[in-house]
Symmetry: C2
Subunit: 456 residues, 2 copies
């Protein structure tokens, strides 16, 4: 890469950091170099060189992925997009923003808030994850049932293709149907079809008024899951509906300490109880929250309602601390299955059965409003062993049998590619590979991700 004018790091510390994401996993070996892009031209230059020499490139945003989609292993060039961090435009009248890929989700929202606007896709990691990474994984989060996933917020993209050419897709209008939807095709493509460098996203008015928060403790996780399904069935649409299983809740409570819970309904959760937090926003939030409260109560929940926004935010902070709490105490394998919402209780039953049979603790939280569960397999030692992967295999099969998916929002990455054909079937996987070959014929873009090696 010498002479190319690129910012290239090869020191051990940079390379070590680029081997891992937030999944707790690590690539085999160290990447050959880390290229820190500071402009779209840098990304193009890097890919031109990689293309000419046949070097595999791993695009990387903020490194907060949970599926091993941005881990640089031996022989890989890691292309770091964190330096593309400019908010290029906010157009309040039209409700759009144009940002570079490395802009953090939280930073965009900080810039929007004074204008009464927000960018709705809301991963739990929003303070530290990048918009480009969110788009590359079609990230979800806490607000999807009401406000949609990342795809719904992306209007257009600038993408550097495998040979370094720049492709612009999409538009600045709310509607537009000229040609195939390449914007949607690249959204969720996990860096395997091109490198997203810029995005035009839709921003929304902040919901009027303060949100109303309902918290409830349930004697068991199945009752909690049934209560959440009942909320959907009652045609209520809270903006947030988060469920924490008893084990998940107690690990977070231990991690945060009693001060973090004091004065909130979370302080009253008894050992062995599961915890649910719902939030309603917009006009009529109070009326909707009353409906949620009634649904929880009729399913055996001990309920509390608060109109205090600060208390609501503290309750959500407890939920958002889940990943950090587990990460701080050792290794975990974070899973991400999603099922039709009515199957939520059955999926929790299946997880408890797998945990009981294998002896592996699986604290679980769920974005219950959209049927997306994050079972976390607690791992002995640094890496999941065969027993953990075998338990995960059972989990995936159970989710598929319930009409669900392997991954609701984290992506396939390296960690779930083994099961992709189980979900999609060999016919669709073959079409997906053909699309990959069309955009990246020499296979240099994130080659370890999404597809099993040696099958094309």
């Amino acid at each position: 890469m010498t002479g190319a004018g690129l910012d290239v790091a090869t020191d051990a510390r940079s390379l070590e950091a680029a081997r891992a994401d937030k999944s707790g996993q690590r690539a085999t070996g160290r990447p050959m170099a880390l290229v820190r892009a500071h402009s779209v031209a840098d990304v193009q230059q890097c890919l031109r060189i990689a293309h000419a020499r046949g070097l595999p490139v791993v695009p990387r945003g903020a490194g907060t992925g949970l599926a091993g989609g941005a881990m640089g292993g031996a022989g890989r060039l890691v292309l770091d997009l964190a330096g593309l961090d400019r908010i290029l435009e906010i157009d309040a009248a039209d409700g759009i923003a144009v940002v570079e890929a490395g802009v953090l989700n939280g930073d965009l929202n900080d810039a929007l808030a004074p204008l009464g606007l927000w960018y709705a896709p809301d991963p739990a990691s929003r303070a530290i994850c990048s918009i480009g990474g969110n788009i590359a994984t079609n990230a979800g989060g806490l607000l999807c049932a009401k406000y949609g996933v990342t795809r719904e917020a992306v209007l257009g993209l600038s993408i550097v293709l495998a040979d370094g050419t720049l492709l612009r897709t999409g538009r600045r209008t709310v509607k537009g149907v000229a040609g195939y939807d390449l914007t949607a095709l690249f959204t969720g493509s996990e860096g395997t079809l091109g490198v997203i460098v810029e995005a035009t996203v839709r921003v929304r008015p902040l919901p009027p008024g303060a949100p109303v928060t309902v918290a409830a403790a349930f004697p068991d996780v199945e009752a909690a899951a049934s209560a959440c399904s009942a909320v959907t069935a009652a045609r209520l649409a809270p903006s947030i509906l988060e469920l924490m299983g008893a084990d998940a809740f107690s690990r977070v409570a231990d991690f945060l300490g009693p001060d973090a819970l004091a004065g909130t309904p979370a302080a009253d959760v008894a050992p062995g109880e599961s915890f649910v937090v719902a939030q309603c926003d917009g006009r009529g939030a109070a009326e909707e929250a009353a409906g949620v409260l009634a649904a929880f109560a009729s399913h055996g929940g001990r309920v509390e309602l608060t109109e205090d926004a600060a208390t609501g935010e503290r309750l959500l902070a407890i939920r958002r601390a889940f990943h950090g709490a587990l990460e701080a105490r050792g290794s975990v394998l974070i899973e991400d299955v999603s099922v039709p919402r009515s199957a939520l209780p059955a999926m929790f039953r299946a997880i408890e059965a797998i945990s009981a049979r294998t002896g592996i603790p699986i604290p679980t939280i769920a974005h219950a409003g959209d049927g997306n569960l994050h079972p976390n397999f607690v791992v002995e030692g640094d890496e999941p062993d065969d027993a953990v992967w075998s338990a995960a295999d059972e989990l995936f099969r159970a989710a598929l049998a319930l009409g669900g998916t392997l991954t609701g929002e984290h992506g396939v990455g390296v960690l779930k590619r083994r099961w992709l054909a189980d979900e999609l079937g060999p016919e669709q996987v073959e079409w997906q590979r053909r699309i990959k070959s069309l955009f990246d014929p020499s296979g240099i873009l994130n080659p370890d991700v999404m597809f099993e090696p040696g099958m094309s």
Copy 2:
């Protein structure tokens, strides 16, 4: 096609009907045959034969398209999907429905309403258009600014590919990111990549309470457009925000007659005034409607608000009658540009200037909540002549110059393919053609649509 067990028509009347859609245009020559599919197996069989013999196939739903996307011309086989009309499943608890492609949008909503559910994508033609056609064009409608376009409602598809194989994409869950989003790629592909035969769609709870409707008359269309832009800028999100220019309104009023308007605010619209109808729904509809009313009044509107749902529905029926009113009185070229919402007044100015310069009447309505305009060029004689197309060319250039698109919701079809590269640029069109070639290497699927001939 003999011996294939297919329902094939070659009578003049069937073939003549298959030459046209609702654009008012007609293909050159008659198709060779009309194949009426009654099952997915029929579609597969038809495509296997067409593939083996190299016969070009035009998939066709209810024939309500407005861009010439389903017109069968000389040498074409028209594949009619209207017979695939079964609603296969409605799962109220999970909020999904599974339908065959020929099910009419209105029929699905009739089946959903008793369950308190609805399918949100709402083209003005909803009573007569098919879900499959809606998906093939990624149809919009009156409710998109608040409830999204068709793409947001489609979770999964069954597609018959060019060689007759059946491909299933997507899922039954709210979230899911396993692999590339082929469902989105096929949505809006206008029958050029495969034939959509079945869809799993998301359905929503009907908004609680009655809608509140606000109507306003404005002295000129620019004031009306500015008032609509002000609604967006005021962070209000009515479910419907429809603008009818003075010429458009008076043509509909003449067509429907005074009884259709009597007792509604539409009866008070003076000659030369433009008309706007907004509707707010859900909890807090009254409060939001009050905000809309204030925005209209401050831009010079004579406003009326009604909480009577029947009156609101009558006002929307006036808007929905626009296409029928023009169609009944002669030929029109229906256009479909979309611009960023703040550019709505400028786009109306451009349309008035084009009309003044060319002498062609261009009555125009707009889905003002999302910046999507339908200028209708009134045509002398049966077909648009060069003068009309030249005026349309000016229209497209004006929309693109304002950051807009050629087509907000109708699609490219035959009628707008000439301008596709002006919007997308040659680089992106080339990638779109490569995707077309990947899925349809022999080019038998709707070969007249989307791309200019002889450029691949």
